[in-house]
């Protein structure tokens, strides 16, 4: 299959990591892969093209309005590839009625200039095959396609047994693993969850290690959000200082997994909108590539359905600090859950699986070729 990925890529945000994995996995499976557009100087390993002549399928990866190319590329794309060979994967729940949850939303005109019906019409106009990264999309005309995946080859450190993993994890000193807890991701609709976690972590902080937030806008609420009255990018610098939380700006996508390994524990949060929609994200899977113990701050049903039942051991109860202390005392149990979950993810959520699913959803038989 000659697959064209249509989206905007930015080394610092959104789904650039997953796009890289799609390209790598596609090539390994013998597919021809490219991102539509001109080469991005900061992303040298991504192949870009504007040649539409041999495209079997164009996958529109939609998060923000500029994921649709600008002119003249947009007209060339829509004129060059028939509608039946286009598929939209709607990663941010745009193709839904307008949803408001706390400060979170799927449409907000004052932020991007677009109303809900404009999103709906644009997505419908592009393709009749609309997918969302949820096991149970809300709308009947949307089909489930998780898009993001787990890449066993990207696991930073492989362990044969939970005992081996637990021993390595416990033995790591401050130079190798300077943080007790780390969250990597931008401050976008996650503050309430992060604040609750950090407040609970307060009592375990000395025992486990310092907490660290890495991402944009944790240090202070950005001026543009204040001026536009956009909530959901809240933060509390005084509280972060009181809790001794280290704050750093965002990192490139290709530094994330290595960085996560600098902490004993890494929470996985989903923003309120995604929790409601049951969406997965890149970090849902990528966290299991890192050499760390994931803490799944997610609904148990979701965890079972996506990660498998073993991952329930990684879901803390009401007392997060107690969960972390227990993991510190009995790491093997938790690493056993991690290894079982990795095996489940490799089996059920590999990129090879995603290619198969996409081919079926698009009505295209994926042509495998020799691995390159």
């Amino acid at each position: 299959m000659n697959l064209l990925l249509v989206t905007s890529v930015d080394p610092w945000v959104r789904s650039v990591s997953t796009v890289h994995r799609w390209v790598a996995a596609g090539r390994a499976l013998g597919h021809e892969m490219a991102v539509y557009g001109i080469p991005h100087p900061e992303l040298p390993s991504l192949p870009f093209t504007t040649d539409l002549s041999r495209v079997d399928l164009a996958l529109f990866i939609v998060q923000v309005s500029w994921d649709f190319p600008d002119m003249p590329y947009l007209a060339r794309l829509l004129d060059g590839i028939p509608r039946e060979r286009r598929v939209v994967v709607d990663l941010w729940g745009r193709y839904n009625e307008t949803i408001r949850l706390d400060h979170d939303f799927n449409h907000l005109e004052k932020l991007d200039g677009h109303l809900g019906w404009e999103w709906e019409e644009a997505i419908q106009a592009v393709s009749g095959t609309i997918l969302q990264p949820s096991l149970a999309p809300l709308r009947p005309d949307v089909r489930s396609f998780l898009f993001h995946g787990y890449d066993a080859g990207s696991v930073v450190k492989r362990y044969e047994t939970a005992r081996e993993a637990a021993a390595a994890w416990s033995a790591a000193g401050p130079a190798e693993r300077p943080y007790g807890l780390m969250y990597v991701g931008s401050n976008w609709q996650r503050w309430d969850q992060v604040r609750r976690l950090l407040e609970q972590y307060r009592s375990a902080h000395v025992e486990i290690g310092r907490a660290c937030l890495v991402g944009w806008d944790w240090g202070q609420r950005p001026d543009w959000a204040v001026q536009m009255g956009i909530m959901g990018i809240d933060t509390d610098p005084a509280l972060l200082a009181e809790l001794d939380v280290e704050v750093h700006n965002g990192v490139r996508f290709d530094e994330v997994t290595g960085l996560l390994g600098q902490a004993r524990f890494v929470p996985v949060f989903h923003r309120p909108l995604f929790r409601r929609l049951g969406f997965v994200t890149n970090r849902t899977f990528e966290t299991f590539h890192a050499d760390t113990l994931p803490v799944l701050m997610l609904p148990r049903e979701f965890v079972t359905a996506v990660y498998g039942p073993a991952a329930l051991a990684l879901v803390p109860g009401a007392d997060v600090a107690a969960h972390l202390r227990d993991a510190l005392r009995r790491p093997e149990i938790y690493w056993d859950a991690v290894l079982q979950t990795r095996a489940h993810l490799a089996l059920r959520h590999s990129y090879a699986q995603r290619f198969q699913e996409l081919g079926e959803l698009a009505g295209i038989q994926p042509r495998s070729g020799a691995a390159r």
Binding site: S65, W66, F68, D70, M71, P72, L74, A75, R76, L78, D79, R83, G113, H114, E118, W119, E121, A122, A125, V126
Partner: protein, 352 residues
Amino acid sequence: MNILFVMKHRGNAGSTHAVANYMRIAPKHGHSVAIYGTPIWYVPELQFSEDVQDFDRVVYLFESELYRIKPLQEVVMLATFPRPRRLILDTDGMYNPVVIVDGYDFNHRNEAERARWIEHLETLGDRIAQTTFARPRNPRVSAMTFYGYNPALQIDPAAAPPKQYDILHVGHNWWRWKQVSAELLPAFEQIRDQVGEIGFVGLWWDGPPPEGSAAGPEEAFRSDPDAFRRLRIQTSNAVMYHDVIQTMSTARINIFTQRPVLRHLKHLTLKYFEVFCADTIPLLMLDRDHAEAVYGRAARELILSGGVAEKLLDALHRPDHYRSVVEDVRRHLTARYSYDRQVEELVAAMPN
């Protein structure tokens, strides 16, 4: 055929009035016309629509700005109307080589800007029409009059507003200063004490737009308010498109000018026709061949080229004679440029 225009719509400039005429006439021929967008309260007669599925064809009308609708709307538009169902209408000569007239007015600042326009237009569609009466040199381009003459809009002298001015110019100060300062002001100087009020209606005669260079080249808005004051020339702001003809009718003489690059490219504008609907004597700052090509032979007498002061006085002194000339021109325009014909021309130009 149901035709949707994608265009920058403004009540006081551009092609909005022409499209309003298409909206009015098209149903008589079994067609419908609307502008993409939401209704504007102060021009309720204009039909707008965002229901693109209700239309068969789209016309992208470009003036001197590469007008774009919102990104997601653009996705819908392009996905709904495939390339063969799009017509590009170039009213300001942008789909041309770089043209600079007398080192002053131009269609593009430079080759890079031109290339951006050409790429955009050629990507949008195969068929490009220009509102010119010259034969386009590019085989991809067809000439289309587009603007039309609507005799129903002629002002009956009995119902015309009182004549507030002897001489009036209706139009924005957009690349017109060179002609106004070189030809009109010296003539006004000669005869100022022999004529009554002189007025300029439109934007930027008192100074450039407050937004500065973002509005366009400084040269395009050059003016001399001191000279206007000295010559007792009144200025007033632009009027809405539906008041243009009425406003022109407040003067005995209306002077017609056209920005140099459009005159050079022989592009038509709506004002070519509006000025002959007004109860006034239009005097045309056009070359003879140019005026004849549009208005017929009778228009020779209305040309304001050389001897401007004398011509102005003659028109003021012999209004009946000039009115009869105007009637000849009106007959020509009615026969050649009715909106009934224009609607047919537009539909015929639409890609099948």
